[in-house]
């Protein structure tokens, strides 16, 4: 298995911290939504969890709607704000399909579940690149 830096070369610049062991039990979308019990994805085969109220499409609009349904709204910047939680949605640069979501944590770092691999804390650009593409939407909601 390649190392995380081999998979995500941008992690090398500002480093990352491992925050969980590997597990296939939840993915990045579930992790961004605060759920570690299920894998969330609008798969064509209708086998995985996706909230019934959200269109089961693998496109940015559906993913934005997913997080809007949890109280987030689209915003412009990734800067850390004390009173808000933020998430970032990544899309493939060629297809425009969502690939990943990350959630902001304290001090402006971001937390990501990498597929069936580990959770890490990283810089906002740490997981951009060939695998996950680029950030297409930033969303925020007031902290509870």
């Amino acid at each position: 298995m390649p190392t995380l830096v081999e998979l995500f070369p941008n992690l090398q610049e500002k480093g990352y911290d491992l925050t969980s062991p590997e597990t296939p039990f939840y993915n990045c979308i579930a992790w961004a939504a605060g759920d570690t019990s299920r894998w969330w994805w609008p798969d064509y085969n209708d086998q995985y969890y996706w909230p019934p109220a959200i269109p089961r499409y693998e496109n940015l609009q559906a993913f934005i709607l997913l997080f809007k349904n949890m109280g987030y709204s689209v915003c412009e910047d990734t800067e850390y704000e004390d009173c808000f939680e933020k998430i970032a949605i990544y899309v493939d640069d060629l297809t425009g399909k969502p690939t990943h979501a990350a959630r902001q944590v304290a001090y402006g770092r971001w937390t990501s579940k990498l597929g069936s691999l580990v959770d890490i804390e990283h810089d906002i650009n740490g997981v951009s690149g060939r695998r996950y593409g680029s950030i297409a939407a930033i969303m925020k909601r007031p902290k509870a």
Binding site: N27, D43, Q47
Partner: protein, 142 residues
């Protein structure tokens, strides 16, 4: 074939204080060529267990970092596992019993069944258990 007879280039690389990415790639390629020379893919893949194992390894290596189930299941190695057909069902279920993974799409495609209750969608533990129970009922597993 006794793989112990396949020459190893591990020793030479281990002696190097620094190994470039190019050297690692060359090492991988050289090992692949040696393995193919001593036991060609056509011979290895005549055995579905070995074929499954090779494809599974490739699929896991190349999709473990992905979240999109569509992309994970559309990977060529995964599609080839589906192509093995009913023989792959026992191999997949045995693999699942050792390590849960995203085998649900393949099992549904091969068998036409889906024993996972709607409330368990996305719950990998429950989905795995539902398929293992189905496998025992259908005598794919003991």
């Amino acid at each position: 074939m006794n793989y112990a007879l396949v020459p190893s280039i591990e020793h030479d690389l281990a002696a190097c204080p620094a190994i470039s990415e190019e050297a690692k790639l060359l090492k991988l390629r050289a090992e692949q060529l040696l393995a193919d020379y001593y036991k060609p893919l056509s011979t290895r893949w005549a055995n579905p267990t070995i074929r499954f194992s090779d494809l599974k390894e490739e699929w896991e290596r190349e999709t473990a970092m992905l979240s999109s189930i569509n992309e994970i299941a559309m990977h060529p190695a995964y599609q080839q596992i589906i192509g093995i057909g009913p023989v792959a069902v026992s191999l997949i279920l045995y693999e699942m019993s050792k390590k849960p993974n995203h085998w649900f799409w393949a099992l549904k495609s091969i068998t036409g069944e889906d024993p996972v209750p709607s409330r368990a969608k996305g719950n990998i533990g429950e989905m795995t258990e539902a398929w293992l129970n189905w496998g025992r009922e259908q005598r794919y597993l003991r």
